[in-house]
Structures are given as structure tokens and as C-alpha cells.
């Protein structure tokens, strides 16, 4: 049996959970087995996971699970895994999923590969999985040889696919135990797709010259339904908030489309964006190293090019 931990930050299932269940269903099909999704705490519309392929959806509703603590979460997931004879456990490769996955591996004596980005190959009793390493500069294949296997699934690696109908949610009792993390406050920006989940990212750097010039970047992002990001010097100068900083020390992203505006493309920046599917670079300096990593490049003054691109996109959107 394949067990998917479908995470639900603040009670809501998000893309990461739908991706994990879509992936888990496919892994279960490869192994000729069933797939169960587990949710923890109060979760809205958990039965929806059936639409993404979960044969059963379980929920442990102890209010202690309403705040994340990797220790209590891993305990509950491990209990459900054992009582249902799970051989593969899948989490999302998110801030929470990562910390649960490592604990599960130890608790269940399982081999763990974190951040897998494609379907495994079944090799006898082993699973062979792929992930990106060296910040996207190489691909590694690992063979998990233990009877129980844990993988965390990289965001944007699979597209959520509807393959079934909602199912009714089965309550399970899982003991939260005594959690030792006391969550005091969660500060999130509502109405904005978080960078690790974003499919389109519009990012700008020092070429913007002044924080007051960001209007054209935000307008472009709005037209595209994109999340905005920035380079390290911009965040360090407090032109933009730190949570927009993508790159090696900031957030690593893998959107379908990354548009880099006035960013030269230092190797530390590329390390955080290398895994983007398509990269567009707009820079007035034709020698900017970023062009070497780009799919499409525009050599020109960003203050002219960006509004022009925005207008062209609006025209395109109106026609399609």
C-alpha cells in the first residue's frame, strides 16, 4: 500500500497535496497496489483527494494536529503506515513535508530520498528514483533498497490530475502525544501564491535602479498571474521584502516560467532558479551571464521592454 501524507496548512489542502496524491496514485498503479491519503487536524474538503486518485482518505482530527509539529505528525503517520502495511510513504517536499520525511525514515527503518521529481522505476523490491542535485546542475538516480520507502515530492514536478471522484473521509484515531512545539503566530501573505508553488515568477534585480520603479514589474506579474521575486542585492538593500529573495541563500524555485528583469545572473542566483522550465532574461547588457542560462533573451532597456511586454501579453490574453 502507498500512503500519502496530504498536508493541509491551516486546514486547507493546497497544490502540494494534490500533486502528492496524483503522484502516489501513479506509484500505487506501478506497484499494483492501493493508495491511501492521510490528513491531520481539521481539514476542509479532505474527500476531494479522492478526485486525485486516493482510494481512501483518512483523517486524524485530534486538535493537537492543527499546529504543525514534525514529531507528533511523524508519530501519527508512522502509526497509520504500520497499521495499514504501507510499503511506500510519500510527503510533499515542503517546509513541513521535509521535516516529517526524515523522521519517518528513522522511525520506520526506511530509506529516504527527498525531492524526487519523476515517477520511480520498480526494480524487483527496489525503487529507483530521480532528483535534481547540485542546485539543478546535475541529476541523481538513487535506488531505495529497504522494505519500506519514503520519498518527498518536489513541488511543480507533477501536475495534479483528476482521475476519480470525491470519497468519504474515514476518521482514524492517531495519538498526537505531547507536542513540544508551541505555535504562537503564523504570518502569511494572503492572496499571493507562495514562491515555491508559483508556476510563473517575475523577478527583478538591481537594474531596476530604485524600489519606486517596481510598478512595471508588479503590473507584468498581475497580467501573467505570477508571483514576484527579487535578487539578493535587492533584498539586502531592503528594496523588496526578504521573502521575495530567490537564489541559493533565499528560496529555490522551479516554476514553468521565470522572467528575470535587470538581474545579471550570478551563479548563486542561478542556483535557486536553474530548475525553472523556461527562463526569459531581460537585460540591457548583452554580456550578462544570465543570457547563457536563458531560453529567451531580450537585450534592451527594461523600462521600455517590460511595459511593452505587458501590453503584448494583455493583447494576447484578450484574444485567447
Amino acid at each position: 500500500m502507498v500512503l500519502i501524507f496530504a498536508e493541509s496548512p491551516r486546514g486547507n489542502l493546497k497544490k502540494a497535496a494534490f500533486e502528492a496524491v496524483t503522484y502516489g496514485k501513479k506509484v500505487a498503479d506501478l506497484l499494483g497496489t492501493s493508495c491511501i491519503a492521510l490528513t491531520l487536524g481539521a481539514v476542509k474538503d479532505a474527500g476531494e483527494l479522492g478526485r486525485y486518485g486516493a482510494g481512501r482518505v483518512l483523517n486524524a482530527a485530534d486538535p493537537a494536529f492543527n499546529n504543525f509539529d514534525s514529531q507528533t505528525y511523524a508519530g501519527a503517520i508512522a502509526d497509520v503506515a504500520k497499521s495499514n502495511g504501507a510499503t511506500v510513504i510519500i510527503t510533499s517536499h515542503t517546509s513541513s513535508g521535509k521535516s516529517v520525511a526524515g523522521r519517518l525514515a528513522v522511525r520506520l527503518g526506511a530509506g529516504l530520498v527527498s525531492g524526487v521529481n519523476s515517477l520511480p522505476e520498480v526494480n524487483g523490491g527496489n525503487l529507483r528514483v530521480k532528483k535534481s542535485v547540485f542546485s539543478g546542475k546535475a541529476v541523481a538516480e538513487y535506488e531505495i533498497t529497504s522494505p519500506v520507502k519514503v520519498v518527498s515530492l518536489m513541488g511543480n514536478a507533477v501536475k495534479p490530475e483528476v482521475s476519480g471522484d470525491p470519497v468519504s473521509v474515514e476518521a482514524v484515531s492517531a495519538n498526537a502525544g505531547a507536542g513540544r512545539i508551541r505555535v504562537k503566530e503564523v504570518k502569511t501573505q494572503e492572496g499571493r501564491v507562495p514562491l515555491p508553488e508559483a508556476e510563473i515568477v517575475v523577478s527583478a534585480g538591481r537594474g531596476m535602479k530604485d524600489p519606486s520603479n517596481w510598478g512595471i514589474v508588479e503590473e507584468l506579474a498581475e497580467t501573467l498571474g505570477a508571483t514576484t521575486a527579487c535578487s539578493r542585492p535587492v533584498a539586502d538593500s531592503h528594496w523588496r521584502p526578504h521573502n521575495e529573495h530567490v537564489g541559493q541563500t533565499g528560496i529555490a524555485i522551479r516554476p514553468n516560467l521565470y522572467i528575470a528583469i535587470g538581474i545579471s545572473g550570478a551563479i548563486q542566483h542561478l542556483a535557486g532558479v536553474n530548475n525553472s522550465k523556461v527562463i526569459v532574461v531581460i537585460n540591457k547588457d548583452s554580456e550578462a551571464p544570465f543570457f547563457k542560462a536563458a531560453d529567451y533573451g531580450v537585450v534592451g532597456d527594461l523600462f521600455e521592454v517590460v511595459p511593452r511586454l505587458n501590453a503584448a501579453l494583455k493583447k494576447f490574453k484578450a484574444a485567447h
Binding site: 517546509s95 541559493q248 522550465k277 543570457f291 529567451y296 531580450v298
Partner: protein
């Protein structure tokens, strides 16, 4: 207070990535190695700051061969009081986590620090594993850590925001940008680092359950296609028809 900082050695960010002929091992020839930046800039520096404010000891721990001692001495130069090297060439995060946990088990550390991930294998696995072995709370991706008596207040980076939380010592924490500022070792630090204790410990046995089977380099990009800055309709057309992403 007794702080453990787990430091890892990684290829320099700018190092060229290549593998041996059959793609089973990283090719370290000619590569410059550094202390993993998250371990050095954030975890180690924050531990040193807390020690300076509250007293106590900072122990730097590396699981690695004798060749890593240059990196370990750098940790001592930055401010660790003593160091431990577990003499092994780790093949997996699980192996490293087991070694750290076995060493720390009887040492009564108040906080065990690590960086949020290493810049080579990007696994972010070791911290959670160490915490599980030792039955300790774990806070990942912490961008802030303050300590008041035995209670720590932390901010943890989550998707699209931060979570503010409290936890009592002992616990394990992985450090992200914001927890501290990079420190360059000064001459006095470098001199004293030479005589600070660096203990060698032998590893415990561990059965691997994950094997690295194959490393490959991704296919090279086809090269940038330049678009006339006057003609953004063309860029939109390419993104729609060729790249098929809008």
C-alpha cells in the same frame, strides 16, 4: 549552555560539477571545498553569538575524513570552542545523521544546530533524522532564534510566510538566512584555532538503505534565442507556440 553545530563540507558554489566515467561518483579532482554556507553563516555564527551572550560551549562536529580538518579549523577560527570529527566518508544523509545522533546522545547539548540543507545534495534530511533518533523537537528553516532561559522563540520559514513558535531546550534546529550574519574569521581567531581541541571519534556501524546509482548532467540548454526588444508580440508568440507555457 552547550551548543552543537553540525558542519558539512561541500564543493564551492562556483565549482564545476562533473562525475567519474561511469557516473557513480562525484569527481572531486581540482575542486575547492568550503564549509556549507548555511552551516557556517547562520548556524555556527548564531551559536557563537548565544555563547557570547549567555556563556557555555560551542562544539563543531563534522562527519568526514581527515582532509576536512581545514574546514573544521575554520569553524574554530570563527568561534567554536572545540571540534569533533567522526572519521568516515559519509555516503548518505542517513549515515551522517546516525553518526551525529550517536555522538550527541550522551553529551546533553541544549541546542543542536545545522544549516537548512547542503548546497551539493540539497537533501535537507539530516536535521529531522537526528531529532528523531534523539527524540527531540525539530524546527526547520529557522530564520530567527532567541533564547530566554530554557525557552527559545523561533521564526520558521514556511511557504508564503513565517511561523512564530516556542520550544524548550533541548531541541534541533536548521538555520536559514536571517538567523545571523556571516562572520569573517579574524587573525586572533585563526591563531587560537590552531590550538583548540579537535577530537577524532570512530563511526558506528550503519546499514545503508539508499544507494546512489547514477549521476548525470542535464542536457545543455539549446542556447538563448534573442528577441527584438521592439517586438514583444514575438516573445509572447514564442512563449505560447514554442514553449507552450502561456
Amino acid at each position: 549552555m552547550k551548543f552543537l553545530v553540525c558542519i558539512s563540507q561541500t564543493p564551492d558554489t562556483t565549482a564545476k560539477v562533473s562525475f567519474n566515467a561511469d557516473g557513480t561518483e562525484y569527481n572531486a579532482a581540482g575542486v575547492q571545498f568550503i564549509m556549507n554556507p548555511y552551516d557556517e553563516w547562520y548556524a555556527l555564527v548564531r551559536a557563537c553569538e548565544l555563547r557570547e551572550a549567555l556563556g557555555g560551549t560551542v562544539v563543531a562536529l563534522n562527519v568526514g575524513p581527515a582532509a576536512n580538518e581545514t574546514t573544521i579549523r575554520k569553524a574554530l577560527a570563527i568561534g567554536a570552542d572545540e571540534a569533533v570529527r567522526i572519521n568516515a566518508d559519509p555516503k548518505s544523509a542517513a549515515f551522517t545523521a546516525k553518526q551525529i545522533a550517536e555522538y550527541a546522545r550522551n553529551e546533553n547539548f541544549d541546542i543542536i544546530f545545522l544549516g537548512k540543507e547542503t548546497i551539493d545534495y540539497n537533501g535537507s534530511e539530516v536535521g529531522a533524522m537526528v531529532a528523531e533518533y534523539l527524540d527531540l523537537p525539530y524546527v526547520s528553516y529557522a530564520s530567527k532564534l532567541d533564547l530566554d532561559g530554557n525557552t527559545a522563540t523561533l521564526e520558521r520559514d514556511i511557504e508564503g510566510g513565517v511561523e512564530v513558535l516556542e520550544v524548550d531546550t533541548p531541541f534541533v534546529v536548521s538555520a536559514a538566512k536571517g538567523m545571523a550574519e556571516q562572520r569573517i574569521p579574524n587573525m586572533r581567531g585563526i591563531m587560537t584555532a590552531r590550538t583548540k581541541p579537535l577530537k577524532e571519534v570512530q563511526p558506528v556501524a550503519f546499514d545503508e538503505s539508499v544507494e546512489a546509482a547514477q549521476f548525470t548532467l542535464p542536457p545543455a540548454k539549446a542556447g538563448v534565442k534573442l528577441v527584438d526588444p521592439e517586438n514583444m508580440d514575438e516573445l509572447v508568440r514564442l512563449l505560447h507556440e514554442e514553449a507552450k507555457i502561456i
